[in-house]
């Protein structure tokens, strides 16, 4: 089955599973949106009414790993992944994929980057062209990128459908004839049709029923194993991230405020917001009750200096208002953007060198 479909490991040196060089490096990425900005605002160069959707975000992605990006609405998690493939153009910062400068790429180089980093979107009702049959949609992807095997349409399409556990009869259907879960599978098949290294799932299971969601999550595991895929998994539910990711970046108002291995971050979160997220997760086990660990409901948009979270944080101190906390080491391969560090483990040395961002 894998013969016709080029797997990720055939794509180039940076993508082999045992290479230690990061496949993707994002550094200082920034994207600002303007709203309700009057002429006087511009003249005075005031900073109000500028919304930093993504504010100085940096992370790396190693081949074969799954990076989870978690956050709530307004955290910037969707914007940052769209910046990676330039669906949204970042204002500043650098993005390097397999050694290539993504922001400078154009034409066929950009097309190849987009081939190698594929995205699956959230809404199964909107992510497929309603006028195209499933088979046509998949084969188009293969043909545009001149995939080997795309010349034999039926075989190509049915192989991909089989990869996502759909019967080949689906190829003749329109998206509206399929259920949400089936549509997402088609979207995944379309993404896989071009032989990507990286699959970015942007809230790809959030709009599905629980039982269907479980099927899709298992499918992602199988695909990662069979095809050697690297994944970025964007979700607002921490349970989903816990199920799929190796490392997780927690985002809040455009910044990564904590980053580290899932086992470490979820067991011993160092940032008050991460704690709040974990505490707010409604456990199916009724004996573990919800705890609310923060106060206030409004979140200010004009917070330019200092920690964005301080308006809600029960542990905020004066320094939180004066300085924007940088991501600093907090544990084995864990970094956190918090200066007071109310949960720091006893005996922790901030100079722990073993940090992989």
């Amino acid at each position: 089955m894998g013969a016709q479909l080029q797997t990720a490991s055939e794509n180039g040196p940076g993508s082999t599973a045992d290479s230690p060089r990061p496949l993707l490096i994002a550094e200082g990425v920034r994207k600002t949106y303007v709203f309700r900005r009057t002429l006087m605002d511009r003249v005075r160069r005031s900073e109000t009414n500028l919304l930093a959707a993504v504010d100085d975000v940096s992370f790396t992605l190693t081949s074969g790993e799954t990076l989870g990006i978690a956050g709530e609405s307004g955290s910037g998690k969707t914007t940052i992944v769209r910046c990676l493939i330039r669906l949204v153009e970042p204002d500043s910062g650098s993005i390097t994929f397999d050694g290539i400068d993504v922001r400078a790429a154009s034409g066929s180089a950009l097309r190849d980057i987009r081939r190698r980093m594929q995205m699956v979107f959230q809404d199964p009702h909107a992510s497929l062209n309603p006028r195209l049959k499933v088979g046509a949609c998949i084969i188009e992807a293969g043909r545009v990128h001149k995939r080997p095997g795309a010349s034999n349409r039926d075989v190509f399409v049915s192989q991909l459908l089989e990869l996502v556990n759909l019967p080949s009869s689906v190829a003749e259907k329109y998206p509206r004839e399929l259920s949400g879960g089936q549509r997402q599978r088609v979207a995944i098949a379309r993404a896989l049709a071009v032989g990507p290294d990286v699959l970015i799932a942007d809230e790809a299971v959030s709009a599905l029923d629980v039982s269907v969601q479980a099927q899709l999550l298992n499918l992602f595991e199988d695909l990662k194993r069979e095809l050697g895929l690297t994944m970025i998994f964007v979700a607002h539910q921490l349970s989903v991230i816990a199920q799929t990711a190796d490392r997780v970046a927690i985002m809040f108002l455009g910044r990564i405020i904590e980053l580290g291995p899932v086992s470490v971050v979820f067991r011993d979160p160092q940032h008050p917001y991460t704690r709040a997220l974990l505490a707010a997760h409604p456990q199916p086990n009724p004996d573990q009750r919800l705890k609310i660990e923060f106060q206030g409901t409004s979140v200010g948009l004009d917070v330019k200096r200092g920690c964005q979270y301080r308006l809600r944080c029960p542990y905020a101190e004066e320094v939180c208002e004066q300085e924007t906390p940088p991501l600093a080491p907090a544990g084995p391969r864990q970094v956190v953007a918090c200066i007071p560090r109310p949960f720091a483990r006893v005996g922790q040395d901030a100079s722990e060198a073993d940090v992989v961002r």
Binding site: E72, S73, R82, I85, L87, L110, R111, D112, R114, R115, Q118, M119, F121, Q122, D123, P124, H125, A126, S127, L128, N129, P130, R131, L132, E140, A141, V144, H145, R176, E177, S179, G180, A187, R190, V194, S206, A207, L208, D209, H236
Partner: protein, 287 residues
């Protein structure tokens, strides 16, 4: 943040119930149109007299078996003239409405897709064209090209394409944000592929719905031009022209002006009814 998918069965039920009230008027409209088209196609067979056959001896005859719509001031059978006029009107009106439609849609789509300066330039042109009073614009073109059918056709097309551009642009602005359009960008598809293969098929619906009323407007403009002597030139039969020829005799030989006028109205109503049904089925957002 998570929205629930609607059960596919529920959705099917809603559509079928939406369809039902429009059934009757759609059927009536479609039937009338079919009859008219048949009349137009079969005109040479049904018409008893050639449309320009002059017979002064039988001028200004009221409707009778021999002349279902009477005769005009030079004895021509009005009914035969009307049949040939329907032919011309339908063909011309369909042409002037649907020939510019694809161009208008394409221009609007390109404007909406690229945005920025492209959109600004195109939109200004579209705005100017729409702002011009339609009839004035058409008459201006006719004035340049001289009276006659070709002038009328060109004039109507010049005034008519812009609305489709505006409709398509508006839809494109919405469509651009839909995830499957983002997906075409993420897949690395070229602009032309994204526009032609993916955007356009989803944009035609609103324009087609609008075209029904456009057909009616254009029909009336064509008839109006011919009435004014600026469109079809005599002796070519055209509904407006026939009405004009009957005007001096309105009090004595009322049938010459009113019966073709009635046919005009019927065509317009039939197109509207059929158009409404299509609009109900297809109306709203695309996809």
């Amino acid at each position: 943040m998570a929205t629930l998918p609607m059960s596919p069965t529920l959705r099917r039920i809603r559509l079928s119930h939406l369809f039902r009230p429009a059934n009757l008027s759609a059927a009536v409209g479609a039937t009338i149109l079919l009859v008219l088209v048949a009349a137009a196609v079969l005109a040479p067979l049904i018409a008893r007299y050639p449309p320009n056959h002059i017979d002064i001896l039988h001028a200004l005859q009221p409707p009778s078996w021999a002349h279902p719509m009477g005769t005009d001031h030079v004895g021509r059978d009005v009914f035969s003239r009307v049949l040939y006029a329907i032919r011309l009107d339908i063909v011309v009106v369909l042409f002037v409405t649907y020939f510019p439609l694809p161009f208008g849609i394409l221009i609007g789509t390109v404007a909406g897709y690229f945005g920025g300066p492209t959109d600004a330039v195109i939109s200004r042109i579209v705005d100017v064209d729409i702002a011009f009073p339609f009839l004035v614009l058409v008459i201006a073109v006719v004035a340049i090209m001289g009276p006659g059918l070709s002038g009328a056709i060109v004039g109507i097309m010049v005034g008519g394409w812009a609305m489709y551009a505006r409709l398509a642009r508006g839809e494109m602005l919405v469509l651009r944000e839909k995830q499957f359009m983002l997906a075409t960008k993420a897949m690395g598809y070229s602009h032309s592929r994204s526009i032609i293969r993916h955007a356009l098929p989803n944009l035609v619906r609103s324009s087609v719905v609008f075209s029904a009323s456009d057909v009616v407007i254009n029909l009336l403009v064509l008839a109006g031009l011919s009435y004014l002597g600026l469109g079809v030139q005599p002796p070519t039969p055209e509904l407006g022209a026939i009405v004009a020829s009957g005007q001096p005799y309105l009090l004595t030989a009322w049938w010459i002006a009113t019966l073709p006028g009635l046919v005009l109205v019927i065509i317009g109503v039939a197109v509207s009814m059929a158009g409404d049904a299509v609009g109900d089925r297809w109306g709203g957002s695309s996809g």
